[in-house]
């Protein structure tokens, strides 16, 4: 294995990890863009997506591309509903009160989701079923698995779809309007509640997709599996500029890449330290993140 092959292999490793971070980061960034608060329960929606996939895989015949996609779609629908439910009953009653109250509620919802899953499935890690037949393709000393290909494909499709929804549809226009000015949006007749519900549904569905892809790559799932990827994705969202959709995707890919290269080096023990140090450095020079626009907070 030459140095260049090794570099290519690490690039693939980093991209597949980063793609999943990107999917989760989008959920953080969309909610922040509209409501200006960090939905800490998002990482547990990711976990719920993986467990939903685990359950659906028992009913739906999988082991083929279409079966796998069907399981993923079902999990996405389930999590979209879960996201809307969480927003309706945990966040909406608090809207308009202090941001801190909502933030703490988010942490509460996060713990609730973890512990309910713990109650149902117990803490023993479950082996995630093989949704898509796993094959390794090797070319020029570099190997790529079918799962990684699916991760790239699904992430790319979802990113394009999201961009299309936000930029080309009426709902997308409404989302941008609410994000731009919450009160003015409602003055021109936008139903803010519906837009916010939609945002949660979209973000949660992406988290579910991330959960399924993650579990296909690393087939061992447990109720706390969302904590670390969730944190990383949050960092990715901030790195790219929180509130900015292409920024979240860029941040995710960048973070995945940093992790792969550091993990492959002698300094693997410092992976997280280096990832977070990068975040601090970037924020020092670009306080709004890579693609974010710096705005002065109006009080």
């Amino acid at each position: 294995m030459t140095g260049f092959q090794k570099f290519l292999q690490q690039l693939i490793n980093g991209l597949s990890l980063g793609s999943i971070y990107a999917l989760i980061a989008l959920g953080y960034t969309m909610v922040y863009g509209i409501l200006r608060f960090i939905n800490f329960a998002h990482s547990d929606v990711f976990m719920a997506g993986a467990f939903a996939g685990y359950c659906f895989a028992r009913i739906v015949p999988h082991h083929s591309i279409f079966g796998g996609l069907a399981v993923m779609l079902l999990a996405m629908v389930f999590c979209a509903a879960l996201g809307v439910f969480i927003e309706r009953f945990a966040y909406r009653p608090l809207r308009g009160t202090s941001n801190l109250a909502i933030l703490i509620t988010a942490i509460g919802v996060s713990l609730l989701l973890e512990n309910v899953t713990l109650l149902i499935f117990n803490a023993t890690p479950k082996t995630f079923p093989t949704l898509i037949p796993d094959k390794s393709i090797s070319a020029g000393g570099v190997s790529l698995t079918t799962n990684e290909l699916v991760v790239f494909g699904v992430t790319a499709v979802l990113l394009v779809a999201l961009q299309w929804i936000v930029l080309k549809t009426r709902m997308g226009a409404a989302m941008r309007a609410v994000s731009f000015n919450y009160q003015a949006a409602s003055l021109v007749g936008i139903n803010n509640d519906r837009v916010i519900s939609f945002t949660f549904a979209l973000g949660s569905a992406l988290a579910a997709a991330g959960g399924i892809l993650w579990s296909s790559l690393y087939p061992s799932i447990d109720p706390y599996m969302g904590v670390l990827p969730g944190l990383k994705a949050f960092v990715a969202a901030v790195l790219g500029g929180i509130g900015n959709i292409p920024g979240a995707a860029l941040g995710g890919l960048l973070l995945g890449m940093i992790e792969a290269f550091v993990n492959g080096s002698r300094y693997s023990t410092y992976t997280d330290a280096i990832a977070f140090a990068t975040l601090i450095l970037i924020l020092l020079f670009r306080p709004a993140g890579l693609l974010g626009k710096f705005q002065i907070e109006k009080v």
Binding site: Q5, L17, A123, T124, S136, S220, M225, N263
Partner: protein
């Protein structure tokens, strides 16, 4: 108002006195002998905890069926530490001060045995770890024992195995830096392997609970080794093996007793076929004692006992034997009796407790073939 407060304080003190008076009840010469056990019944090492607990439970049931010890029955009090750090210490405190146990059995993971050990040492309650192999565990103090071999022995024997049986000269090592067990085992392995003329060509690290190991494995693949040594736990190892095979790593992988769990195969699948690990016992050993244990365990739990079950069983048996020889459940005397254990016929081999309170006993190497673990060779201590 002030009088009310004084009243409350006084009655609380009285209550505390009354309840603290209840404490030594477990140590009285009559009634059941209370034995504490803490195990990872749930969580990421649940497979270990469950096995070990079943073994201990079976041993206690057998002892009681034979009429108990000193004419008293054993009462096993089990607590779950959820494979979490920080729980074991609290559990040890609780079992000793609230329930008044005479000895504590546990844990499998060295990190968690190490948490409970200072409590047992301070309270002069003997602790017997069934299967913590890190040397530090029994170094906490003279009340801490174990019924398994230690990592220096395991690491040394694995290095010999790599050179003699695998004919490996260039070794890759992937260590879990988050557990004392893995770091220790890797260190002892490296020492012997280099002394025997081998070369560690690449050493990579991960943290237990990580999911993605491809970056480390890519670096390992680039180093062109003859074999990969993974001194980790089964959940991680299963994922590592899968990802290693996906990256096109074809040479043998092997590890220590942390691999021992059926989950290694459910997670690792075909990737772990042809891999080796060292452990304490194999149900395929042709000793009537072992065969009786396997039959009894199967009758009660419906599965073949693994090493953790065997060691869990031995830990309770050794305790019962020591109580019998000590003639009392008094901490210091029980400790002396445990320390004097010699040639005790355990199901995981003959156990002699040495001056460091570790067990001197044989080790076995198992191979994963056809979705099962099979005995490859048995190695006796020198």
């Amino acid at each position: 108002m002030r009088r009310w407060r004084v009243c409350a304080a006084l009655s609380l003190t009285a209550a505390a006195l009354i309840f603290s008076g209840c404490k030594p009840a477990g140590n009285n010469a009559t009634g059941d002998i209370k034995v504490g056990e803490f195990a990872s019944l749930t969580g990421k090492e649940a497979a270990f905890g469950q096995s070990s607990h079943h073994g201990t439970e079976l041993a206690v049931a057998e002892i009681n069926a034979r009429g108990g010890v000193l004419g008293r029955k054993l009462d096993l009090l089990t607590e779950d530490d959820q494979s979490k750090e920080g729980e074991s210490k609290t559990i040890a405190e609780k079992l000793i001060s609230r329930d008044g146990v005479v000895a504590l059995l546990g844990e499998v993971a060295s990190s968690r045995s190490l948490e409970a050990a200072p409590v047992c040492q301070q309270r002069q309650i003997p602790q017997i770890s069934p299967s913590s192999t890190n040397p530090k565990v029994t170094q906490i103090g003279d009340y801490i024992f174990r019924v398994c071999f230690v990592d220096p022995f395991q690491g040394k024997m694995l290095a010999k195995f790599a050179i003699d049986t695998l004919k490996a000269k260039r070794m890759a090592v992937l260590t879990d830096v988050a557990t004392a067990y893995s770091v220790g085992l890797a260190k002892y392995f490296d020492e012997t392997f280099t002394n025997l003329g081998g070369e560690i060509v690449v050493e990579q690290k991960y943290s237990g609970g990580d999911r993605d190991f491809k970056a480390q494995l890519t670096t390992i693949k680039a180093a062109n080794a003859d074999a990969l040594f993974i001194p980790g736990y089964y959940t991680d190892v299963g994922l590592i093996a899968r990802q290693a095979r996906e990256l096109g790593l074809t040479y043998p992988m092997f590890g220590g007793d942390g691999w021992e769990a059926p989950e290694l195969i459910t997670i690792g699948g075909e990737a772990v076929e042809g891999c080796y690990y060292s452990t304490h016992y194999s149900p395929e050993v042709k000793d009537p004692l072992v065969q009786k244990f396997v039959a009894d365990f199967k009758a009660k739990y419906g599965s073949i006992p693994d090493a953790m079950a065997a060691l869990g069983y031995d830990s309770a048996m050794i305790l019962a034997d020591a109580i019998k020889r000590a003639g009392t459940t008094d901490g210091p005397k029980l400790r002396d009796a445990l320390a004097a254990t010699k040639g005790f016929p355990g199901v995981a081999g003959k156990i002699t407790i040495d001056s460091d309170r570790n067990a001197q006993k044989p080790m076995v190497i198992l191979e994963v073939t056809n979705g099962g673990f099979h005995l490859l060779q048995q190695i006796n201590p020198e």
